[in-house]
């Protein structure tokens, strides 16, 4: 059990690191925007701007929390 916990702790630390909100925010943005595009293909161009704004917003919030 100790090794399993250690294994997951290592990968969590490796990918998520000390800013979980960045990883969670990126995944949420990808899922949300992906669903929107698949429900309406006409939005495929506009949502590019929304995605970039979301990425900038996620890092901005994460930095401001420091």
């Amino acid at each position: 059990m100790k090794y399993v916990r250690g294994f997951f702790a290592f990968w969590y630390d490796f990918i998520v690191g000390d800013a979980w909100e960045v990883a969670a925010g990126v995944v949420a943005a990808l899922v949300f925007i992906g669903v929107l595009i698949h429900s309406n293909q006409d939005l495929a161009e506009v949502l590019g701007f929304v995605f970039v704004a979301a990425v900038v917003g996620i890092v901005g919030i994460s930095l401001w929390r420091e």
């Binding site: 490796f14 800013a19 960045v22 990126v26 495929a44």
Partner: protein, 255 residues
């Protein structure tokens, strides 16, 4: 175009991590003997090579391109943002800069406390510390080489493309850092680690945004040129963030 960025990102990311690994190898070599340090480091590098080879081949062979772009692009974006975020915090003075000299002294003191282990050829403490140092520091490089390389598989530089090209960047960095370490025989404290980390973070974030976006179906208006625009935008915003955070820290200190 992405071939050059792939080579650059891989080279600088590898350089940063190898400078950190070199500090550990030097400390191990001086305190526990060079034979154990070199064998440990070589074993760590060999394991990294196998990870890149096996994982890289598996990903590019069995995962469909669209799924690859969204998953790998997403990982690349998260990874790039973590590097960029740390670099911004270091520039703003909210996180300590890496001090290779201090890390080296601490490592030497720590290793000198432990009595020699293993009769004869190999000191196992030295071997383990060098092995773990190279493996753990290099894992981020392996991750970048695999994710970046498998997504940018089309463009080639000097006959190399994809994961092969990213590996060339990593090997070049290994050679240069190893030569510098052999010549100087002390930690490379003067390498601008934070600037290099910031540059790599920007490249990974721009490409990660582009590929992950393509993977979920975004039509980038400027097509491939979008990557350059994203690079510029993220660079300007990072600079603005550093300035704003520095100002906030100054105001907080004087209040």
């Amino acid at each position: 175009m992405s071939g050059i960025f792939l080579l650059t990102a891989s080279f600088f990311a590898s350089s940063v991590e190898m400078v950190e690994a070199l500090t550990i190898i030097l400390a191990t070599g001086i305190t526990r003997g060079w034979r154990s340090a070199f064998i440990g480091a070589a074993a760590g590098a060999a394991v990294l090579g196998v990870i890149i080879l096996v994982l890289g081949a598996t990903i590019t062979t069995f995962v469909p391109l669209d799924a690859l772009r969204v998953v790998i692009g997403g990982f690349l974006l998260i990874f790039g943002l973590q590097w960029l975020r740390k670099a911004i915090l270091r520039y703003a003075g909210l996180k300590a800069l890496h001090d290779e000299d201090r890390i080296y002294q601490a490592e030497v003191q720590e290793l000198a406390k432990v009595s020699p282990s293993g009769a004869g050829l190999i000191d196992w403490v030295g071997f383990t510390v060098a092995f773990k140092g190279v493996l753990l520091e290099g894992l981020e490089v392996a991750f970048i080489v695999i994710t970046f390389g498998s997504s940018a598989s089309d463009d080639s530089v000097a006959g190399f493309s994809g994961i092969g090209l990213a590996t060339v960047g990593a090997v070049l960095a290994l050679i240069i850092v190893a030569i510098a370490g052999l010549v100087l025989h002390r930690p490379l404290a003067k390498v601008p680690e934070n600037t290099m980390k910031c540059g790599v973070g920007l490249i990974l974030t721009a490409f990660g945004t582009f590929w992950a976006g393509e993977g979920i179906g975004i039509d980038w208006v400027l097509e491939d040129v979008t990557i350059l625009v994203l690079l510029g935008l993220y660079a300007v915003l990072s600079w603005a963030a550093v300035t704003a955070l520095r100002r906030r820290t100054l105001v907080g200190a004087t209040a």
